[in-house]
């Protein structure tokens, strides 16, 4: 049957002569693949850590992916130090993910003739490999598309982001693992077949195709080169560099934010004490200024219950913490100077020695409440902040009071807090 199919090879891309680039070949594919292997392992691990940072096992309301079952096997209580832990983790996850996009496009370009393999299936082994490639290519592009759309608030899909991105990552890592495993020898041989240093010294005029390979990546009828391998790698590198340069500022913050020209959080908000990025405006969260006026009380509930006005809170010992807010989307406010009452002092007032449930005035929507783990409540830098950079909080920044916890995901720094209550041991 294979032979019969071979005789009836369709025209166009199914014919080897259709693919004419002299650059395609196992060496170039393997170089790009190695970059992706290292890069995507880092993106995958930081993604898993980002999920752990929500302490999903502490309470169902913390869990963005409640159906995880065995895929949550690695979870642990998220630490509060170093204070920049989540900042770095998400900066790497999002920025590296963006930077790898040109490498993914180049890698897919380099192997595209394989999509039109003929005959389409040569053996059961070949069938399994091709099915696995559907999962690999599909999940890679799916993860990139959902991630890139999510950081731009373009929610055009009919499913939840957290679940889709988390489960999609596991499909990806399963497919990538076997993809690399069964090709180890071919990759090593291909990488050894040419010297990177020599390629980086070879111009267009001296660029010749790689020797014919059993996988059929090398063109059988190559066109004259208009770009060297050095040029191709340079083009990928330049694109990655452009993505990096135009986005890293939204993570680093401060004066570098102005360089993040095309990033969602690359707009300078001004120089005032309250001019830093807002995750969700008070208007969107349904916060009516009347709810936050002089009638506002903070309820503390543990062994006993206490109601405190904002003046009561200001009369308690005040502490200052220099902390950033880092969002799952990769951007950060940079370090701001928060002051207010320590969470551990508030919990102690009512006998709430363990985890604490924080509830907002926010009327629904995501993350209107969160349970903070015992280590988060106990950290001396964890505050119920009343002021920032020497002035009262603004409504968009969580007035009358907001939580700030070192190394926690941005959304766990609950704004417009109305109630803190004992949530049992953690």
């Amino acid at each position: 049957m294979t032979r019969a199919l071979e005789r009836h090879r369709p025209p166009g891309p199914f014919r080897p002569g259709f693919w004419r680039s002299p650059l395609r070949g196992p060496w170039l594919t393997s170089v790009l693949g190695m970059v992706l292997l290292v890069g995507f392992v880092l993106v995958f691990v930081t993604g898993l850590l980002s999920y752990a940072a929500y302490n999903p096992n502490l309470a169902p309301r913390n869990d963005t992916t409640p159906g995880k079952d065995l895929l949550g096997f690695y979870l642990f209580t998220w630490p509060t130090r170093p204070t920049w832990l989540y900042w770095l983790n998400q900066g790497v996850h999002v920025t590296l993910g963006l930077v790898l996009i040109p490498v993914v496009l180049a890698k897919l370009w380099s192997v595209l003739p394989k999509l039109f393999d003929w005959p389409p299936v040569r053996s059961p082994a070949h069938l399994l490999d091709r099915l696995s490639l559907v999962l690999l290519v599909g999940s890679t592009v799916f993860e990139i598309v959902t991630g890139v759309m999510n950081i731009q608030y373009y929610y055009a899909w009919p499913f939840g982001f957290y679940q889709a991105h988390f489960y999609g990552a596991w499909v990806f890592i399963a497919a990538m693992g076997v993809h690399v495993a069964v090709r180890t020898r071919r990759i090593v041989d291909a990488l050894r077949s040419r010297s990177l240093r020599d390629e980086l010294r070879t111009g267009v005029a001296d660029t010749a195709p790689e020797p014919p390979d059993p996988d059929g990546l090398v063109a059988t009828d190559p066109a004259e080169a208009t770009l060297s391998r050095r040029g191709a790698l340079g083009l990928v590198g330049a694109s990655s560099l452009a993505l990096l340069a135009l986005s890293v500022g939204q993570t680093v913050g401060g004066a570098t934010r102005a360089t993040a020209l095309l990033s969602p959080r690359g707009q300078d908000m001004g120089d005032g004490p309250l001019d830093f990025q807002v995750n969700k405006t008070a208007a969107l969260a349904g916060i009516d200024p009347a709810m936050t006026g002089s009638a506002w009380r903070l309820e503390l509930a543990g062994a006993t219950t206490v109601l405190l006005s904002r003046d009561d809170l200001l009369a308690l010992p005040q502490y200052t913490a220099e902390l950033p807010i880092a969002c799952v989307e990769g951007w950060s406010t940079g370090v701001q100077s928060w002051s207010g009452v320590r969470l551990v002092d508030l919990a102690g007032m009512v006998g709430a020695p363990d985890a604490v449930l924080v509830e907002s005035l926010q009327a629904g929507g995501g993350f209107g409440s969160a349970v903070l783990a015992r280590n988060q409540v106990a950290d001396p830098l964890s505050l119920l902040a009343l002021r920032v950079n020497g002035v009262d909080l603004s409504l968009d920044h969580g007035f009358p009071a907001r939580v700030i916890v070192p190394a926690a995901p941005g959304v766990h720094n609950t704004k417009w807090v109305r109630r803190l209550s004992a949530a049992g041991p953690s």
């Binding site: 996009i101 059961p124 799916f142 076997v178 095309l262 969602p264 969107l284």
Partner: protein
């Protein structure tokens, strides 16, 4: 084994292990909305392999065809001076299209900012890329037109 399967037993075991994990995750991925997730998952493959790739391949082969029809005899080849800024600008647009084309309806109420600046910014970045590439080309042209005094043979 090789004869009916086409590879060694380790190959089969590796794939079965991979499919077990991928299948477990895929059940959860597709579980909530099989049709919706399926459309997006398959759409990602089709969107790249059968839409994006043919489009940019066609654009590039058109560019090269122009180059071939107008061979620039003694001067410096210009094709990569178009390719580089076009590819970089194109990838920036591909990634940041929701902001550039103002597709994110919720952006303003979430961030308190507007998406107004992004189209201008992308155009400005594109302009700078092409201008830098043109400047570099001009320098190379000038270098090529100078009498080749210092050049060694070969």
């Amino acid at each position: 084994m090789r004869r009916w399967y086409g590879a060694g037993p380790l190959h089969l075991l590796a794939f079965l292990a991979s499919f077990a994990l991928a299948g477990y995750a895929a059940l959860k991925l597709f579980g909530g909305n099989p049709v919706g997730v399926g459309i997006w998952f398959v759409g990602c493959i089709v969107g790249h392999d059968l839409l994006l790739f043919p489009l940019y391949a066609l654009a590039d082969s058109s560019l090269v065809a122009v180059l071939r029809r107008r061979p620039a005899a003694a001067t410096v080849p210009w094709v990569n001076h178009v390719r580089f800024p076009a590819v970089v600008s194109g990838i920036l647009l591909l990634v940041w299209a929701p902001l550039v084309f103002r597709l994110s309806v919720g952006y303003e109420s979430i961030t308190s900012l507007t998406t107004e600046p992004y189209l201008e910014r992308w155009l400005a970045v594109t302009g700078v890329l092409f201008a830098a590439s043109a400047a570099l080309y001009a320098l190379r042209l000038r270098a090529a037109r100078r009498p080749r005094l210092a050049r060694r043979p070969g």
